[in-house]
């Protein structure tokens, strides 16, 4: 019997690490040739930064005390005012005038890239939910015996799959969005959902059709109706089977959301472009943007693996 040699496997894994290091070194050397000056230091502050704010007193009054980042001031007309102030030089009994500086407050604030990431997450989530609904309904219509439903589904799927997403975004935003007075966010999420929904419909259709006919027949013979058969027999088995394909489609959706930057939704890609124009560090920023996208998609991929393993246990 042939056996995989454990020692050999380890050797190849070490080789893999070396190839990665080599690639990194190559990129570094290549950038030296074009005299690019790397400046990674600025990058973290575009994700999260420490903001320091000067705090002014809103009234004339007397300081009563400062504890736990709270400065208490009694105004001249005996009103008690509490201000969030982290650092202050004032002590109990000090007098403060209106608009006089009383100290500083500092806190961490999301930078443009993190804000962009959050927007990408929000719009992707909204689209995934809509795309699932659209995909489920058209997937079921697609296999319906009713020619109206079936032809509608086929037309939708073919039209959407046959035109570029970018063009669809423009049509939804400028045409449909204007008619129905949609916000940018809704128009963007809707355009994305309509696009991915066509692919999800095909995934759902394939999943349903992959379930043996005998399952439906046995359910019919027991007196179950169409809805019950779909809900309890076909869908649970079909979804389990198409979960990897669905996860792949969700990952595509997250990546495709970068195209929404074209209608001025400040998601991760647009945020990246804005940061580049103010820092002139395109390499660092785009690498960071790519890494942030990867964190999202890889998390989804891990989640899918986890759910698949969980579902595989019941069988």
């Amino acid at each position: 019997m042939r056996k995989q040699n454990k020692g050999k496997k380890l050797l190849w894994n070490i080789a893999f690490v070396f190839v990665l290091i080599g690639l990194g070194f190559f990129i570094y050397r290549a950038s030296l040739r074009i005299n690019y000056s790397w400046n990674w230091r600025a990058v973290p502050s575009y994700i999260v930064y420490h903001s320091i704010k000067k705090i002014d007193s809103p009234v004339n009054g007397v300081v009563l005390g400062h504890s736990k980042d709270t400065l208490t001031i009694k105004s001249l007309n005996d009103k008690i005012i509490k201000l969030k102030v982290e650092h202050t030089k004032l002590k109990k009994g000090d007098k403060v005038g209106k608009n006089e500086s009383v100290g500083f407050d500092s806190h961490y604030q999301a930078g443009p890239l993190l804000m962009g990431l959050i927007m990408t997450l929000k719009i992707s989530l909204a689209s995934i939910i809509m795309a699932l609904i659209i995909g489920f309904i058209t997937g079921l219509m697609r296999i319906s015996n009713n020619p109206l439903l079936k032809n509608l589904a086929v037309t939708y799927i073919e039209l959407i799959r046959g035109t570029p997403l970018l063009v669809q975004i423009f049509i939804v935003y400028f045409f449909i969005g204007t008619i129905f007075n949609m916000t940018r966010f809704i128009a963007g999420a809707f355009a994305l959902a309509v696009f991915e929904g066509a692919y999800i419909a095909e995934i759902i259709r394939a999943g349903i059709q992959s379930i043996a006919k005998g399952q439906t027949e046995a359910s019919l013979a027991l007196g179950m109706n169409y809805f019950q058969i779909m809900r309890y027999i076909i869908m649970p088995q079909a979804i389990k089977r198409v979960l990897p394909a669905l996860a792949g489609q969700f990952i595509s959706l997250i990546k495709d959301s970068s195209l929404l930057s074209i209608i001025s939704i400040t998601e991760l890609t647009k945020a990246g472009r804005e940061v580049v124009s103010s820092t002139f560090s395109p390499f660092e920023v785009w690498f960071t943007v790519a890494a942030l996208y990867f964190i999202l998609t890889y998390t989804l991929s891990l989640l899918d693996g986890y759910i698949e393993r969980r579902l595989a246990q019941d069988e």
Partner: protein, 249 residues
């Protein structure tokens, strides 16, 4: 309606069916089954016996003719099929158990959805029939871990738990390993002796001889002969039945 007709629980009249590929599966098939009767349909593959069985609960629609099941014309589009089907249990060649559910839930599901039984009541009924077919100890297993014979037992319990008036068996033992066949046939014989109406499509001539009240021989979509087991096996009238029996016995 005359009184004689009343006692028939299944009446098929002049049933015809042609498949989309042009094969004439059923040609003018008429058959009446009395309440409590065990009718075994035999015939070569392609003779239409399975197709006919499937028209009784309308898994297969007919082109013409009528089928009355428990007083309801199932070929009439106005008939509520789910109601009739709940009264007609069916056991399939390939078991068709639900792979994503435990054995117990396989038997419970349709009871709660169709018969509207409470979960607790359905579970009691399920256990009763799982015991009856000798597989109650596997109640928490998933079908993937069961042998073919065990899966077929689950399928039988699932059908019986609906308390059907009629049971249809479509080559219930054909997909089983030889050592599993006897156990399933024993269950079917026991059911036959308990007085439930049964229509059985099978290649098991031993079962037909022992359990059938009447045997129906089909060939090329037609019923050629209907008779008692004794007559069928000892003095078949038609040449085709004699030929069929000589090949199979």
């Amino acid at each position: 309606m005359n009184e004689n007709k009343e006692e028939f629980i299944i009446t098929a009249e002049n049933v015809c069916k042609t498949f989309p590929n042009g094969v004439k599966a059923l040609r003018d098939v008429s058959l009446s089954v009395k309440k409590g009767e065990v009718v075994v349909i035999i015939g070569a593959s392609g003779s239409g016996k399975t197709t006919f069985l499937r028209t009784i609960n309308q898994l297969e629609y007919v082109d013409s003719g009528r089928i009355i099941v428990d007083g309801q014309d199932v070929t009439d589009p106005k008939t509520n099929l789910t109601k009739v089907r709940a009264e007609v249990g069916m056991v399939f060649q390939h078991f068709n158990v639900f792979p994503h559910m435990s054995v117990l839930n396989n038997v419970i599901l349709a009871q709660t959805l169709v018969k509207k039984r409470s979960k607790k009541e359905a579970e009691e009924v399920a256990l009763e029939f799982l015991n009856k077919v000798g597989i109650a100890d596997k109640r928490d297993d998933y079908p993937g871990n069961l042998s073919g014979g065990q899966q077929q037992r689950v399928a039988i319990a699932r059908a019986l738990a609906m308390n059907p008036q009629i049971m249809l068996f479509d080559e219930a033992t054909s997909a089983l390993d030889p050592e599993m066949v006897g156990g399933i046939l024993d269950i079917m014989k026991r059911l036959a002796s308990e007085g439930i109406t049964m229509v059985v499509v099978t290649h098991e001539m031993g079962f037909a001889r022992e359990a059938a009240d009447r045997i129906v021989f089909m060939d090329h979509g037609q019923i050629i002969e209907i008779d008692t087991p004794d007559n069928v096996f000892k003095n078949a009238k038609s040449e085709r039945l004699r030929q069929f029996l000589s090949q199979i016995l």
